[in-house]
Amino acid sequence: MAEATTAAPAEKAKPARKPVTPWAVVVTIVAWLVPGGGHFLLQRWIRGALLLVSVAVMFVLGILMQGKVYSPNTGDILDMLGFVGDLGAGLFYIVTRMMDWGRGSINLATADYGTKYIVVAGLLNVIAAVDAYHIAIGEKQ
């Protein structure tokens, strides 16, 4: 009886990771500081503009809704996570802290929406910065 061939399936060749370049690092930092800025550097004008508008509108609406902007803290874990999320908005967060906006309001029912808008704007900007990085190293079109 013929022996069945039991050769192990050939391992799938993993695509080589693209090397990190100084340009990609610059693009990522700019993308974090200015929403859509990384895409502008990479000449993805429409994507950059849409990202800028989306993050900026959400952040500004959050402030206008009397949302709370978190400061660096070592208190409640949710406060710390809120700070990390807010920080993702880059210059928007820095300017807001400098101007002492975003103190939050317990009088408005929708102030909590504002707080979430601000955090999510920051998190979306982080996603956008990672996207700019992937474009800069050539992993994405």
């Binding site: 994507r47 849409l50 990202l51 508008v53 989306s54 993050v55 509108v57 959400m58 609406l61 206008l64 809704m65 009397q66 309001s105 408005l108 029912a109 929708t110 929406y113 979430k116 808008y117 999510v120 979306l124 996603i127 956008a128 990672v130 996207d131 994405k140 079109q141």
Partner: protein, 60 residues
């Protein structure tokens, strides 16, 4: 200056802009990006409607 949106309009604006960013960042070609952005928006709205009705039922 203060802005007071209704719960629905706040959720609608949230879904709209979040879908734009998801569409741009999670897909490669412009066509796929538009499609995925619309999908995200539709799912946000479906989830919003279901959550709204669930809360209405819980309140009764």
């Amino acid at each position: 200056m203060s802005l007071e949106l209704s719960h629905f309009s706040a959720a609608l604006i949230f879904a709209f802009f979040t879908s734009i960013v998801f569409g741009i960042t999670q897909r490669n070609t412009p066509r796929e990006q538009v499609r995925y952005g619309i999908e995200c928006f539709v799912f946000f709205m479906i989830g919003l409607t279901i959550a709204g009705w669930l809360m209405w039922l819980l309140r009764r």
